[in-house]
Every structure is written in C-alpha cells, then in structure tokens.
C-alpha cells in the first residue's frame, strides 16, 4: 500500500539540452529505462525518493495491522491478516531492491527512515482502534493503493514497473479480505454495524488524502508525468477511487462521512461521478510533518526492530565469515595434500 502523493519530489536536473531531449525521446517512445542506462540526475533522484517512500510505506504499513494479529476474531481472520502483513513486508523488499538499482544502499534508506529524514505515507500515522479498522484499511487504504499502483506497473523505470506488477498481483486479496471483514460487521449486530460505520468515518478522509495534494498544488507532478514515472494526476486517481468506492459503501448500508458528496453529471467528461466536499489539507500536512497521533510510535517501533535485530544480522554475518574461512582452509589443505 502506498499513497500517490510523493512528498518533496525534486525533478531539477542539470544535463544539457541534447541529452535531455534524447532521454525524453526514449520515454516518449515508451522505451523502458533500465538500471545502467544513462538518465538525468533529476529522474534518478525522483525515483530514489519515490520508490524509497513507497518501500518505507510498505514496511511501516505492517505496524497498524500487526497490532491486531493476536486479537483477530477467528483463526481464518488471523491467518489472512498474517499473510497480508507478510505480503507488505515482501512488497517493501521488492521496492528496496528496485531503489537499490539506482545506486542508493539499503542501509542508507533504513537510516533515513529511522532518522525521520525519509517520509512514508501519512495514512499509517493514524491508529487502529477497533477490529473494524483492519477491514476498513484493507478496503479503503489498499483500495486506494491499488488505484495508484496499477498505473505504476507501466512506469518508465523497468525495475519499479516490474516490482509493481508483483505487488498488484498480490494486493487484490488484501482489498477483498478487508471488504469481507467490513461486510461481516455491517451485516452483524447493531453494535457491529456501528463499529464499521465508525471506522469508515475515521478512515475515509485520510484515504482520499492518500492521492496527494490537488493537481494545482502538486509541485513536481508535471515533470513526473513527462518522464512517465506517473501516468495519472492526483485528482484523476482520487476521482476514480471515489467513484468506485461510494457504491461499495452503499452496498454495505454504510455512509461515506462527506455531507457534500453528490452525483454530478458533469464529472468524468460528462459520464458523471461523485463530487466530494473540501478536503482538510491542513490536517494532511500536519500529519505529514509529524503531528499525527502515531508518528512517534511508528518510528519508535521501527528503531526497536532494527536495534533488537542487530544481533541476528551480526550472528549471520559472523557465521558466513566462519564458513567462508573454513572452506578457504579446506581448499588450501586439499591442495597441499594433492601436491
């Protein structure tokens, strides 16, 4: 899962006109760019930042759901949630690998996450208060992520596009298992239905903020679109998500917490769509900048995992070195014996 809104992208680049034009021609011809190909520094930096944020989001995204594994209401739910959280970890790893092909190291990226320098999707700075939140995250947060990730499968950078294809294949189960959880609650007792509605009330706005600022305020979108890192604008994807999700909420008998939400014939080139009310961007930026309920907890948990895992990494390294030394000794010994 991930948000489309890349935080702090900077596509500035200093190559000469001819180089940039040749590169743009390759992009326009839908040629994929591969790791060792010549590329503008701005293209490389934008991708490092975007893929890094995406990877961190997958890893931090394990935390709000991991919080509920031991309290899942049945073995079936627990097995599914475990598998989903394991997938998020895997998605983080695919993405770190893709970023590493651009010359950044895993250690650098980990350090930037732990120091707070690197950002991750602000959605994960909200707490998961009830079991209904787990269903709602799968339905809305993974749903929004899929909306964003499907076009990324056609991103101009080969390793990122290939990672996204794997991620998308795996993620459709995430959304379906989430919707099923919410559906079960929505068809349950009054208290369960209220729990589902409460979760929708809390997750709706943060979910639609995942697509990032409005196009007019999205500073670096244009360059990302030209380089075909991004295929659709923030607002276009947000609209697509809303149009898909509002009927899903209606099916459940739940109400999207937006009093201004209304069908508007003029949207989507006259095909019609749901017009949403104003988004509270102050809240979005407050959470991005560290003012969310869970920002500190998330980084604390990642630091703890990193620090407490240090002995495992060191032991594995020591064991590998010991085995290598032993093998080298045997080889040398074998040679002597043969002579």
């Amino acid at each position: 899962m991930y948000s489309q809104g890349l935080i702090g992208a900077d596509g500035r680049t200093e190559e000469d006109e001819a180089f940039l034009a040749a590169f743009q021609a390759r992009i326009d011809a839908e040629e994929k760019i591969e790791p060792k190909d010549a590329m503008p520094e701005g293209y490389r930096k934008t991708l490092v930042r975007q893929i890094g944020q995406h990877a961190h989001s997958e890893i931090v995204g394990m935390l709000p759901e991991g919080n509920w594994i031991t309290r899942a209401p049945s073995l079936r739910r627990k097995a599914a949630l475990l598998a989903k959280v394991q997938d998020e970890g895997g998605h983080g790893l695919y993405l770190y690998s893709a970023a590493e092909t651009l010359g950044v190291t895993r250690e650098q990226m980990t350090e930037e996450l732990l120091s707070g320098k690197a950002k991750y999707s602000s959605i994960f700075n909200y707490p998961t208060l009830t079991w209904a939140d787990i269903g709602t995250i799968g339905w809305l947060v993974d749903g929004a992520a899929i909306m964003n990730q499907i076009p990324l499968c056609r991103c101009s950078y080969g390793p990122y596009a290939r990672a996204m294809i794997r991620v998308c294949k795996e993620e459709s189960f995430h959304q379906r298992q989430g919707y099923e959880i919410v559906m079960t609650l929505a068809r349950g007792t009054e208290a369960q239905k209220a729990m589902a509605q409460d979760a929708l009330n809390r997750w709706w706005w943060p979910s639609i903020m995942m697509f990032g600022p409005h196009d007019a305020e999205s500073a670096h979108s244009e360059q990302s679109m030209a380089w075909k890192i991004k295929r659709f604008s923030n607002d276009a994807l947000r609209q697509k998500f809303i149009d898909a999700t509002v009927p899903q909420a209606e099916f459940l008998g739940l109400k999207v917490p937006d009093p201004d939400m209304a069908w508007d014939e003029s949207l989507n080139d006259g095909k019609g769509g749901y017009r949403h009310g104003p988004i509270d961007w102050d809240e979005f930026w407050r959470v991005v900048k560290g003012g969310g309920v869970m920002n500190r907890d998330r980084i604390k948990a990642r630091r703890k995992a990193w620090d407490e895992g240090a002995w495992v990494r060191e032991a594995a390294q020591a064991h590998a070195e010991k085995r290598a030394a032993r093998r080298a000794g045997e080889d040398a010994g074998g040679k002597v014996a043969a002579e």
């Binding site: 594995a316 390294q317 064991h319 290598a324």
Partner: protein, 94 residues
C-alpha cells in the same frame, strides 16, 4: 551505519520445462540464508519449483552505452533469417 550484507540475484524456475528467470534481488549474509529469504520473498504463492541465488557481484554485464556496437551485427545480417531466401511456392512449406 550498519555493515552492508551481500546482495544476491534471485532466479526462479516457475515449473519444470521452463528455464530459471530473474525475479529480483535480496540481501543475505550467505547462500543458505539467501535461499531461505528468496523462498519467503519470491515464492509465497507457488511461483516456482526451483530457486537459484547468485552473488550480484559475480555477474558481468554488457555496457548499455555500447549496446549499439555490441548488438549491431544482428540487424544488418538479414541473410541469417529464413525470409531472406526465395523459394517457389510450388515447393511447399519449408
């Protein structure tokens, strides 16, 4: 900063009859851990029946900047392709 663990490239054979195919990379201290990590990261849904892991630094790659010279001969030797030769239709399929 932590010491970097070795980088490995992962290849998977989806099923017998097909060749191993590159699927991605991962970090691991040695080949035993690399294989286990490859299984966990890349075969959670029955993607394969066999895995290869190869240290990334053991791969020698051609230089994309020289791709034109390197692969040029394949384009201008059209006599390497069957359609270069005219055989009368009467001969039948060949």
């Amino acid at each position: 900063m932590a010491e970097a663990t070795r980088l490995w490239e992962v290849f998977i054979r989806p099923r017998n009859g097909l060749s191993h195919r590159h699927v991605g990379s991962l970090h691991a201290a040695d080949e035993v851990l690399a294989l286990q990590a490859a299984r966990d990261v890349y075969t959670r849904r029955g993607e394969g029946t066999s895995i290869w892991v190869i240290p990334s630094d053991a791969i020698t790659a051609s230089d994309p900047d020289h791709a034109a010279e390197m692969f040029d001969p394949t384009a201008d030797k059209i006599y390497r392709h069957p359609t270069f030769y005219d055989i009368p239709e009467d001969v039948g399929h060949m």
